[in-house]
Structure formats: structure tokens, C-alpha cells
């Protein structure tokens, strides 16, 4: 079983001391990438919930210490861990008992490593300030202050409740100054700053606090490395620079040195009673500022935000330099100990390594990109994920009009194909949408459709593109563009012929077109082009889905609620399969068998299986189907079903489903009983596909709604056991709600047939008429299989059974 597609961008990455490695928080683990190649070297595994903070222990300047590879991590599972990431080896675990959202260790920065080690041995103290969520103190009805800033001593293996410095509604992230003197949090329109008690801090040393005010919500702020300067960015795009903060309130503690003991009321730009000498505002960003970072010498300030432009300000003069068109909102900017290297992290799961000071992108550590946000009219219609079954590569539509090729088997981005020649500007209105991507069975041809949305009814354009793969470089080159393939109607589905170079596109305008590749044998491959071979329509009704049979002799096209079967070569209507209750949205032949799977979901969801040889309905379920796939060689097929909410929130089942909203059901040919069932998270917008690299091994890939994925063997016991282990291991984390990449949970035990029948016979008396899944099936009884075979009861029986087994 392979899991992947984790987000690289949940928390800021960190460079190692020699700048050759980049540590990235990826869900429950920390991945270590090589900065020279951009490939993953190793990972630190041990946390049982997403890692939120990563602190690389800085080394002194001597070269011998540059190879020190220690880091601290903090996680939502409530532990702080100390690692040697060259190993990788877990050195120490400290249990803080509360989920940690952010952590800083000031003494690491203020003092060289050797001294710290010595002192820690002596005094047994290493002070950390953490931002935790404390749910225990929250009472009903009161204003909830769940986020706490606390002081912990990491020298002890088990931390008692530390001193609370501040309470906020939500856990905030703590920012520390590079010198280790100050740390602070942002809270709405304010910045709270504490200074760190010098001298390692006895337990009772009190940190002093000051506050800076602003009229807008502050998004991010940063401390100057050497001077008392704070830069903050707000939601409107302004960058504020406070100089000389805290001269009064945070006067250097021990030395008692009064820098300026006067009260200047005409401090330029400073609000109210705030303790700062001056405040200046720079306004270039048009949208919120998320990234703020001073350069290591303090001469420059790096800012960035939603518009995807990295701006470098010269601090003294306010002059700017830009790295434009990154194409995605910036989240973090990190400079490395190597002055020629820095990294910028984007919201589309990409980490760009920049060559400084020219700010060229050297290379990119590419995670799986998040799904594009589609206009409402295309929701549910777009098919934005396609699979190359032989090589395990997924083609995913992305926000910036590209198709990303992602290798599911080794969790790595391969390349990106610019489908539409435009630059994506995050935050702009969406005017061009890549609505569908399809790959041929051998992965050599890709087809995409894009829609240019009209302005005031002028100039909408649908275009269909065919791409051929370049065998060596694993990318695709454009072969043919078809403008307005179905006049002005949108393309609803694209399907490829299993063996020949033939494709079909269906449209809402009431026709389908068969496209063939007319590559001449004499001509080179690049000269091949796709031309329309035939056009068909059925009663001028909108066509919504299409599929070729396993051997390619029959083409099935869904026309509202009937299925038409065609001979794709001669373009002859062979027959029409009777009506379902609602319009069909997905069609799929079950492998080589004569069964045809059709799914429809509006207004009444239905999964129906038709026998194409005697043109009759075999069976059907009232399930909302998100995706269908079938194996090439056998007759098995799998569907991804959404579990109805009413069913899920039922009290007796709540502890089974938790946050899982979907299920993958594996069927075998005509048999209406699923061979196996897995429940999954974030099934809405997800997709599944069989992967069959070599004949012996059949695997099932599931990509969920936020592009996390899992690849597993649907038939083997091994995967079952492993998934069961994962299920146990992950059980604790689910209350936290944002369980990063976990998507697949335990497989139900395989029931033998006898037991199943028992379950069914047991199930029937339970059924009472007020249950919602009962009414789903009220319709023409002719269309339905025997009542006892209906899915919901069957499901329910299974679920009841399972709780019994578990308990």
C-alpha cells in the first residue's frame, strides 16, 4: 500500500546548517530533501499527528559544527521530539499533553550550541514557548479562549502545565526574532511582544510584554535580526515598519540601560500609546501579505502575498525588486545559511529553491497540486483527474491551466504541461477553465478540454486538444487543437478506444463526435493529427457520458436517461438500453464482460448495472457515485460512493464513520454483492482507477477531493492487515479534525457467503419505513432488483455486523 500526496506547505520548511538539506513537514512525518537535486533523502517518522513546528538547531560559525544535524519538532499529538536527522534517529520525546500549534526555543538562537549543551547539563533547563490548544478549560457558553501561549522547560521528560502568558480564541503561531531576544504573536489588529528573560531564565523570571496596534487585521510579522525593528503585513496589503519598539517597556533587562527614557508623543505614525519611535507604511501589494522576512544581514525585507509576487525592499530606501508570476499565493520565505540559496513556499504545494540574489528559480520540489477551483456550473461535471494505468501516473488539472503528471508509485511530480497558454494570477476572477483531462489506455495520448468563459455573453470558446507523449521525456506535446468541437456547446466527456487511436467526445449540445488519428505510416509521429471521423446524435438530446467496451467494438453513449450503443467504425446505432430514472453522468463497461455500469446522481442518485447482451437491467443501488473504474482483464469493477449524510450521522454509526464520507465498493461482474468495501475520507471530488502495471498485480488507486491518494492491492490480505494497522494507529488523531493525508481506513473483514446471507436475513426485519434510504428506492419496481438486495439494507446489515465484531 502506498500513500502520498501529502501537503508540503502546512508549516514553514527549514534548511539544515550546511544548506544542503531542506526539512519539510509532511503530515505526520518530516521529509528531508536534498537541495541540490530536489529529491527526497529520508524522513523522520514517529509523530502520530501532523507536525506543526520544525526547528533546526543552529550551529556556531565554525565549520566543524556545520555538520550538526539536530532538530526539534512539535506536533498536534502533544509531543515535542528531538531528532538527529542525518541518521535519522529519535533522540528524545517530551510529552506536553496538549496539541502544540507553534513552538519557539529562544536560547537556541541567542547562544551557541556548545554552551547550551553545557548549561543544559548544568541547570537542566531549556526553555521553550509554545502555542497550545487547551480544550479542557473551555466551558459551555463562555467566550472560548482556547489558544494559550505557555512556557515549558524542555529539559524534563514530562512537562507540567507551564505558565500561561496569553490566552486567545484560536491558537496563534509564535514568531521569534533571529537574535532570540524577543518573541511575539499577532492577535487580530495587535502584535503582542515579549522579551526573553536573559540568563537562561530561571523559572520565575517574568517576561515583559508590550503591544503594537494597527487598524487592520495583521497577517504576518517579522523581527529585524539586529535592530529593534518589526515589519508587519496586513490583510489589505500594507507593510508596516515599526522602528525602535519597546525602548520604554522592554528596556534591556539586565543592563538597565535606558536608551531613551523620554515620552515622545509626536512619534511619526505610531498609534496611541504604543512604544515605538516611528512607524512607516509601504503599500505595494494589492492583496493580503502572508510572507515577511528580513534578510540575514537586515538590509532587505522580503514580502509576498496572495498575488504571487516576491518583493524585495531595500530597508533604508524603500526601493523594490520583484520576482513576478510565481503563479500561486506565497506562504513562506526561508533563507538558508548559504547566502546564494533561499526557498519560497507556494500554496499550490510547490517549494521553489531560489538562487540569490538574482532570484532565479533553481529547481522546484513539487508536491501534488491541489484541485482547481471551478466555477459552480462545472462542479461535478469536470473530470480533472486521469490515470495512466500501466505506469501509475496520474494527470491532474491544476489551477494554473496546467496538467500535472504525478507518479503515484513513488510520490513525485514528473512534469507539467501548459494546456492553455496563459499566466495564472491567483486571486483574479476565473475566466479560463480546464474542464477535463483523459488519457488513453496505453498512456500515449492525452486529451484536454478548456472553456473560456464569456464576458457579457461575448466570446466564450470551448476547445478540445489532443496531446501525444514524447516517449523519452515523459511529457506531452500538442498534436491537434479543435476549436468549438460541438459548436458552442460544452464537452461533457471524453473517452479513448482501448486499442486503437480513436476517441469520442460527447456534448451537452446533443451530439457526439468520434475522432481518429490519421498518422500516415510514412510520416513521422509528430505529423499525426486528429480528425473527426463520425458524428452521431440521438433525438437531439444532450449526451452526458461515453465509454468503449473492453474490446473496442461497442461504444456506449449516455443520452439523458437512456444508453445508446453504437458501432464506432461504421457509426451505426446498434441498440438503445432502457431508461434509468435520472440522467446518467458516468458510464463504464465492466472489463471484458457484457455488463455496463451507469451512474447518475441528480436529482435521485442511482448506480445501475446493465447487461448489454440481453439489453436488460441486472441490478441497481440508490447510491451517489463519484467515480467508476473497471479492470481491463477481469470483469471486476469498483465504484466510489458517497455515503448519505443522514446515514452517516446516525448515532449508532457515528463512531464507525467518524469523518469518513465515502466508500469504495469492489464488485465482480454481475454479482450485486460487493466483494469488499473500504470507507474513505473526503470522497467528494475524488476519483479511483485500477492500475495494472504487470499482469500479476492489480492495484487500485484512490485520489481524494484534496488530492491525497492511496494505492493498494484490492485482493491481497497483506494490504488489509496494513490498512488495519494504520486504522488503529490513526484512531486517536481524528478528533482534531484536519487529519492531513489520511484517507483510507480499515478494510472490513471479508465475510464469507454464509455470514452475508445471515446478515441479509437479519437485516430485513430491521427495516422500518421512516428510514430515509428506504424512500430513495420508491419508484417503478420493474427497474429494481428484489427488495432484499437493495443496497442500503445491505449496507446497514454490514455495518451492524461490523460494530458487533469490533466490540
Amino acid at each position: 500500500m502506498i500513500r502520498g500526496g501529502r501537503s508540503y506547505v502546512t508549516s514553514p520548511p527549514s534548511f539544515s546548517n550546511d544548506a544542503k538539506k531542506l526539512l519539510v513537514c509532511t503530515g505526520n512525518t518530516v521529509s528531508v530533501f536534498s537541495a541540490a537535486t530536489g529529491l527526497q533523502i529520508t524522513s523522520l517518522e514517529g509523530h502520530t499527528a501532523p507536525v506543526t513546528t520544525l526547528i533546526v538547531v543552529p550551529a556556531a560559525s565554525s565549520p566543524a559544527q556545520k555538520i550538526l544535524c539536530y532538530c526539534w519538532t512539535a506536533s498536534l499529538d502533544g509531543t515535542v521530539r528531538h531528532w538527529d536527522f542525518s541518521g535519522p534517529e529519535l533522540l528524545k520525546t517530551i510529552d506536553a499533553q496538549l496539541p502544540i500549534y507553534s513552538m519557539v526555543i529562544p536560547s537556541l538562537l541567542s547562544e551557541p550550541q556548545v554552551q547550551i549543551d553545557k548549561r543544559r547539563e548544568l541547570s537542566g533547563k531549556l526553555v521553550a514557548y509554545v502555542s497550545v490548544e487547551d480544550t479542557s478549560v473551555v466551558k459551555e457558553g463562555t467566550k472560548e479562549l482556547r489558544g494559550h501561549i505557555r512556557r515549558f522547560n524542555l529539559a524534563k521528560p514530562r512537562i507540567p502545565r507551564g505558565d500561561t502568558l496569553k490566552e486567545t480564541e484560536e491558537p496563534e503561531s509564535i514568531v521569534i526574532s533571529p537574535s532570540g531576544e524577543f518573541f511575539g504573536i499577532r492577535h487580530k489588529c495587535k502584535i503582542h511582544i515579549w522579551d526573553v528573560p536573559s540568563g537562561g531564565g530561571s523559572r520565575h523570571a517574568v517576561s515583559r510584554k508590550m503591544t503594537l496596534h494597527h487598524s487592520k487585521f495583521i497577517n504576518a510579522f517579522a523581527f529585524h535580526p539586529t535592530e529593534r525593528i518589526i515589519a508587519a503585513g496586513d490583510v489589505t496589503g500594507r507593510v508596516l515598519i515599526w522602528r525602535g519598539f519597546g525602548n520604554r517597556k522592554l528596556a534591556l533587562g539586565n543592563q538597565k540601560k535606558k536608551v531613551r527614557a523620554m515620552v515622545d508623543l509626536d512619534n511619526a505614525g505610531v498609534r496611541g500609546e504604543d512604544d515605538a519611535e516611528s512607524c512607516t507604511t509601504w503599500h505595494w501589494h494589492s492583496a493580503e501579505v502572508n510572507v515577511l522576512n528580513f534578510s540575514s544581514d537586515g538590509a532587505y525585507l522580503y514580502t509576498g502575498g496572495r498575488e504571487g509576487v516576491l518583493v524585495v525592499w531595500q530597508l533604508d530606501t524603500g526601493k523594490k525588486k520583484f520576482l513576478p508570476r510565481i503563479g500561486s499565493p506565497l506562504l513562506y520565505f526561508m533563507w538558508s545559511p548559504d547566502p546564494t540559496l533561499s526557498s519560497v513556499v507556494c500554496a499550490d504545494n510547490q517549494i521553489h529553491l531560489l538562487k540569490m540574489p538574482s532570484m532565479e528559480i533553481l529547481r522546484t520540489i513539487s508536491g501534488i497540486k491541489p484541485p482547481p477551483s471551478l466555477p459552480r456550473m462545472y462542479e461535478g461535471l469536470a473530470s480533472t483527474v486521469a490515470f495512466d494505468r500501466s505506469s501509475g501516473i496520474a494527470a491532474l488539472c491544476t489551477e494554473n491551466y496546467c496538467v500535472q503528471l504525478y507518479n503515484l508509485l513513488n510520490d513525485r511530480g514528473i512534469s507539467e504541461i501548459q494546456v492553455c497558454e496563459r499566466n495564472h494570477q491567483p486571486g483574479d476572477e476565473i475566466t479560463v477553465v480546464v474542464t477535463a483531462v483523459a488519457l488513453s489506455l496505453d498512456g500515449s495520448v492525452m486529451s484536454t478540454t478548456e472553456v473560456k468563459l464569456p464576458e457579457d455573453g461575448i466570446g466564450g470558446l470551448v476547445s478540445l486538444k489532443f496531446w501525444v507523449s514524447e516517449p523519452h521525456s515523459k511529457t506531452f506535446t500538442l498534436s491537434t487543437i479543435v476549436y468549438e468541437p460541438h459548436r458552442d456547446a460544452g464537452v461533457s466527456a471524453i473517452a479513448f478506444h482501448p486499442t486503437r487511436s480513436m476517441a469520442v467526445s460527447t456534448s451537452f449540445g446533443g451530439d457526439f463526435k468520434i475522432w481518429v488519428c490519421n498518422s500516415d505510416k510514412n510520416q513521422a509521429d509528430k505529423d499525426s493529427s486528429w480528425t473527426c471521423h463520425a458524428v452521431g446524435s440521438y433525438k437531439k438530446k444532450p449526451m452526458t457520458a461515453a465509454a468503449f467496451s473492453g474490446d473496442g467494438t461497442v461504444l456506449a453513449v449516455a443520452v439523458e436517461n437512456v444508453i445508446t450503443l453504437w458501432n464506432p467504425d461504421k457509426n451505426i446505432l446498434l441498440s438503445v438500453l432502457g431508461a434509468t430514472l435520472t440522467p446518467i453522468t458516468k458510464l463504464c463497461f465492466a472489463g471484458t464482460s457484457e455488463f455496463l455500469v451507469a451512474a447518475s446522481h441528480f436529482p435521485r442518485p442511482e448506480l445501475s448495472v446493465w447487461n448489454a447482451s440481453n439489453l436488460s437491467l441486472s441490478w441497481s443501488y440508490g447510491l451517489r457515485i463519484e467515480a467508476v473504474t473497471s479492470a481491463v482483464d477481469s470483469s471486476s469493477f469498483a465504484v466510489l460512493a458517497l455515503i448519505p449524510k443522514s446515514f452517516r450521522t446516525d448515532e449508532s454509526k457515528e463512531n464507525i464513520f467518524r469523518s469518513r464520507d465515502g466508500a469504495i465498493l469492489l464488485f465482480n461482474g454481475s454479482d450485486p454483492k460487493p466483494v469488499s468495501i473500504w470507507t474513505v475520507m473526503k470522497a467528494k471530488g475524488g476519483s479511483i482507477s485500477f492500475l495494472e502495471g504487470d499482469k500479476s498485480q492489480l492495484r487500485l488507486a484512490y485520489v481524494n477531493g484534496s488530492h491525497e491518494y492511496v494505492v493498494f492491492d484490492p485482493n491481497s490480505d497483506e494490504s488489509h492487515e496494513r490498512s488495519a494497522v494504520d486504522y488503529d494507529g490513526l484512531a486517536g488523531q481524528e478528533e482534531t479534525g484536519d487529519a492531513g493525508y489520511t484517507s483510507l481506513y480499515g478494510q472490513l473483514p471479508d465475510y464469507d457467503k454464509k455470514r452475508m446471507e445471515d446478515a441479509e436475513s437479519l437485516a430485513t426485519p430491521f427495516v422500518s419505513s421512516e428510514r430515509p434510504w428506504e424512500t430513495i428506492f420508491s419508484g417503478s419496481t420493474l427497474n429494481f432488483p428484489p427488495l432484499q438486495k437493495l443496497c442500503a439494507e445491505f449496507f446497514e446489515s454490514l455495518m451492524e455486523k461490523r460494530t458487533a465484531v469490533v466490540e
Partner: protein
């Protein structure tokens, strides 16, 4: 794989600039530019003064400079092949039907409808010999391939005669054709073998060495034969009759190899053409005005060209540089290739001249001093030698004016600048880009008087053009709606609006008539589909 992947990842660049590109238009499925078609279309048309009536025959002299004999009405004109101008003219008593040069190019024979065959010296006006024996109009006359003493002729009396020119006597009468003999050709490998074609649908093969005046082989074309020609190997012949051209294998017993039926009217003349690559093609002309080039090896028509008149005769010069086609209305379509070989030779000469100069320059260059201007340019035009490592300069993307303006978000100026360029595809591309930026209507509402006039002029010209109409019709409507006040009063827009209205009305009429036609066709299609 790992290495490769790394390289790919390193290449990744985020910032890109996409210039606005017009939509690519459909290309023909078959390649329009093949080397074959390039060769045949490279004959540059030359104007030749119109002749009086139908050009019945054309012949090139086999020796350089390949002068040309053109038979038209009752005369034969000699043309020089270089200037394609008439140099000498020979008169006949009746319409000349055929003309042929001797192998050394010094004499030519011509026959006319007054039953005579005449032999001329190209330098003298009077006939050297007049051969009289035919009892009906003579249709063709031919010199054997290398033989300078004999002639072959045939006519409407159905008799093929083999002449001794010096004595003006008939060596043998070759009997066998049952209808008019129209054409004939002599074998390129043997002086005593020839073929004749007749209206009795047959082509007969003769051998002068066989005494009995009987044909040695016979081929049935199936239609009245208009022209026959030996292919260069001498073992195959091509026949033209009716709409078809057929290729036969004589050695293999007269079997048909292939046939070409792409002409729509009677094929009148055949000729063997030699291409640059020493491949040979069969060229045919017909009354439908088409010249077709037939690759008989692959049985495929490789080139076809249309002329504005029924074509009667065709001839290609032996060096392949000139193509002459005679039409029934007296026009001669002459085509000449540019002379490549001679120019190459000229270049070589000039090159050698340069190299001498180059050495001189070398000695001079050594003495360059900072006082010379050229001192500061030294080495700038140096070519890299093979072992030098080349550092390539990154080529910047060339941006047009409207792209630069779009890059700076000066949308209206970009639209105006592209409207000035008068390239409709670019204008529509810029407009589509503006739609994608949601700025088109803003641009329209910001336009000033003259700019608005330019936009209206563009819309008037192109809004009914099929390729752009889907986009421009909607825009036209919107422009007229939003700028109604500005357009209404102005005199300068009046003409534009009137034209626009007319265009739209015309388009509506066209659409209606198309609908009517569709109404007629649809039932027919339905019936055809049912059967």
C-alpha cells in the same frame, strides 16, 4: 531515468510570457508541399504571344539549345528556347497536324491535312523533301530515335508508312489498322521498333526489320487512342484514349500495368518528364484543362495543375528546364525553370575570387593600428572554430507592440494598436485575451471618436466572416448598444453603419437560403440513410 528527471526538474521555470497568438487555422490533411509538387510548380510562367488557332503539336529539338517547333493552323513556328520568341515561320497548304525533329536537330519533318509530309532544314524556308503517298490527311510523323534517313507517318487512310527520306520513297506500307491512325512513337532503344495508335482502339507494335508488314504485337486500349508514348526503358508504353491513360508492359506480353483515370475529358497528349532526381514521370494534358503528373511506379497522381483552356498538346524540353502546353484557343502556356546550375558555377567563381582577396586582407589586417576605425571592430565577425566551446546567448522572446502593451495592462492602447495593424486574426486574438481579462467592454467604453471609427470599420468588414462571426457578431451588438449616443449623431459613422447594416442583411439572406437548401436535402438524406 533519475538523471533525466533531475534535468527536467532543473529546467522548470515558473515565470513565462505568452504572446497573444491568433487561432491556428486548419491545415490540409495531406501535405501540400511535397518535393514533387515543389518541382512541378517551380516552372515560372512565361508569356508567349497568342497564336491564331489551336496548337496541334509541339516539339523540342533534341540538341542544345533545344529550339522549339510549334504547329498551329497552316504553319510551323520555330521558337528559341532561351527567350521563347518566334524566330522563323514555315507555311503549309493546310492545317499542320504533327511535327518532329531529327536526332541531330538540323532537320524537322511536319505533316498536314493535305496528305503530304514535308522535311525542312531549320535554317531554310523551302522544304527539302515533300513525301506524297498518303491518300488521306496525315496525322503524325516521327523520326526514329537515332536513324537520320527514315521517317514514320500515319494518317486517316489507316496506313502506316515507313519512308526513305533521301529518295522520297515508301520503304514499306504497314497495314492492319481498321480506322484512322492518330499517333505513333518510335522506340528509344531500337531504331526499327515503333508503335502506332488508332481510333480502332488498338495500339500496334511494328518492326521495320520484319518484312511481312504485319504488326508483331497488339494492345487494345478500349477507347479511341489519342496519343501513345514509349517510356524511357523501351519495354513499356503509355497510351491515352478517352479519359484514361494506361501503362502497358510490352515485354511482358502486353499486360496493363496501371491506369490513371483522373481526367474528366479526353486526354489529348502525353509526354515523359524527367525530374531532378532522374526519376521519370508521365505528364498528360486533356481537354478539361488539367495537366496531371502521374507516377507510374507508384500508380499515383502526384501533381495536378489547371489551365484556363482545353489543352491540345504538351512538350517538355529534354533538359527539363522548359514546359510548353498548347491550348485549343491558340494560347501557349510556357513555363521555365530558373537556371540553378549555371548560377552555382558563377558563385564558385566569385568565391575563388574572394579567397584571393581574403589573403590580401590578411596581410593588411596585421598592420591594423588603433588609429584605424577598423581596429575597433577587429574580431567581431569571427566565426567559431570547431573545438571552441559555444556559450549561447539566451534568445529573448520577440514581443509585438500589442503584446508589450498588454503586458503593461494598457488594454485600450493594445486594442487600438492591433486595429491599426490590419491583421484580423491578431485583432480577434487580442480581443479574446481582453475577454479573458474581463476588460473588453471597458476598452470599448473608453474609446474615443476616431478609435471607435476604426473599431466599427473593422467590425463592419469582418463581422460576417465565418471564422470570426461567432465572436464579432456579439461584440458588434454590444458596441452599438453601449456607444449608441456617441455613434448616433456623427456623420463619419453614417457610412460605416449603413455598410454594416447591408452586410448583416446579406448574411441573413444567405442563412435563409442555406436553410432552404437544407430543407430540400434533409429528406433526401433521410431516405438515403434508410436504404
Amino acid at each position: 531515468m533519475e538523471e533525466e528527471l533531475r534535468v527536467r526538474l532543473n529546467e522548470h521555470q515558473v515565470s513565462k510570457v505568452f504572446p497573444v497568438k491568433p487561432k491556428s487555422t486548419a491545415k490540409p490533411v495531406s501535405e501540400s508541399e511535397t518535393p514533387e509538387s515543389r518541382y512541378w510548380s517551380s516552372f515560372k510562367p512565361h508569356s508567349v504571344p497568342n497564336l491564331v488557332s489551336s496548337v496541334s503539336a509541339l516539339a523540342f529539338s533534341p540538341v542544345h539549345p533545344h529550339s522549339l517547333a510549334v504547329a498551329h493552323s497552316a504553319s510551323v513556328s520555330l521558337f528559341s528556347s532561351l527567350s521563347l520568341s518566334s524566330s522563323r515561320r514555315f507555311s503549309f497548304r493546310d492545317v499542320v497536324s504533327s511535327v518532329c525533329f531529327r536526332s541531330d536537330g538540323a532537320l524537322f519533318a511536319a505533316c498536314d491535312l493535305s496528305c503530304t509530309v514535308q522535311v525542312f532544314d531549320i535554317k531554310e524556308r523551302m522544304a527539302l523533301r515533300t513525301l506524297r503517298s498518303h491518300t488521306a490527311p496525315v496525322r503524325f510523323v516521327k523520326y526514329p530515335f537515332q536513324d537520320k534517313l527514315h521517317l514514320l507517318s500515319g494518317g486517316d487512310d489507316g496506313v502506316v508508312k515507313y519512308w526513305d527520306v533521301a529518295g522520297s520513297t515508301v520503304v514499306s506500307d504497314l497495314l492492319g489498322h481498321k480506322d484512322y491512325v492518330r499517333c505513333g512513337d518510335c522506340s528509344p532503344v531500337s531504331d526499327s521498333m515503333f508503335i502506332t495508335g488508332s481510333y480502332d482502339h488498338t495500339v500496334k507494335v511494328w518492326d521495320a526489320r520484319v518484312d511481312k508488314s504485319k504488326c508483331i504485337a497488339e494492345i487494345n486500349h478500349g477507347l479511341p487512342v489519342e496519343d501513345v508514348v514509349y517510356l524511357p526503358s523501351g519495354g513499356m508504353i503509355a497510351t491515352a484514349g478517352g479519359n484514361s491513360v494506361k501503362v502497358w508492359d510490352l515485354i511482358g506480353g502486353g499486360k496493363m500495368v496501371c491506369s490513371m483515370e483522373s481526367h474528366n475529358k479526353t486526354v489529348t497528349s502525353l509526354c515523359v518528364g524527367r525530374m531532378d532526381s532522374a526519376e521519370t514521370r508521365l505528364v498528360s494534358v486533356a481537354l478539361d484543362g488539367y495537366m496531371k503528373v502521374f507516377d507510374y511506379g507508384r500508380a499515383k497522381v502526384t501533381y495536378s495543375m489547371r489551365f484556363p483552356a482545353p489543352l491540345m498538346s504538351l512538350c517538355l524540353s529534354p533538359d527539363g528546364s522548359t514546359r510548353m502546353i498548347g491550348a485549343s484557343n491558340g494560347m501557349v502556356f510556357a513555363g521555365k525553370k530558373k537556371k540553378k546550375l549555371s548560377r552555382d558555377a558563377g558563385e564558385k567563381k566569385s568565391l575563388s575570387l574572394w579567397s584571393v582577396r581574403g589573403q590580401v586582407d590578411e596581410t593588411r589586417r596585421r598592420a591594423l593600428r588603433p588609429t584605424y576605425f577598423r581596429y575597433f571592430q577587429r574580431g567581431q565577425s569571427e566565426k567559431p572554430s570547431q573545438e571552441d566551446y559555444l556559450v549561447k546567448e539566451k534568445k529573448g522572446l520577440k514581443l509585438t507592440r500589442h503584446d508589450k502593451l498588454l503586458k503593461k495592462f494598457r488594454h485600450k492602447e493594445a486594442l487600438v494598436s492591433v486595429l491599426e495593424e490590419k491583421k484580423p486574426a491578431n485583432v480577434v486574438a487580442v480581443m479574446e485575451e481582453l475577454v479573458a481579462r474581463r476588460k473588453l467592454m471597458k476598452c470599448v467604453s473608453n474609446m474615443e471618436g476616431s478609435e471607435l471609427g476604426m473599431l466599427l470599420g473593422f467590425l463592419q468588414r469582418y463581422c460576417t466572416m465565418q471564422r470570426y462571426s461567432g465572436f464579432l457578431m456579439g461584440l458588434t451588438k454590444k458596441v452599438l448598444e453601449t456607444r449608441a449616443e456617441d455613434i448616433k449623431g456623427k456623420n463619419e459613422f453614417k457610412g460605416l453603419l449603413r455598410n454594416l447594416k447591408r452586410e448583416v442583411n446579406q448574411e441573413i439572406r444567405i442563412q435563409q437560403s442555406l436553410l432552404e437548401i437544407q430543407g430540400v436535402i434533409a429528406p433526401l438524406m433521410r431516405i438515403a440513410g434508410r436504404s
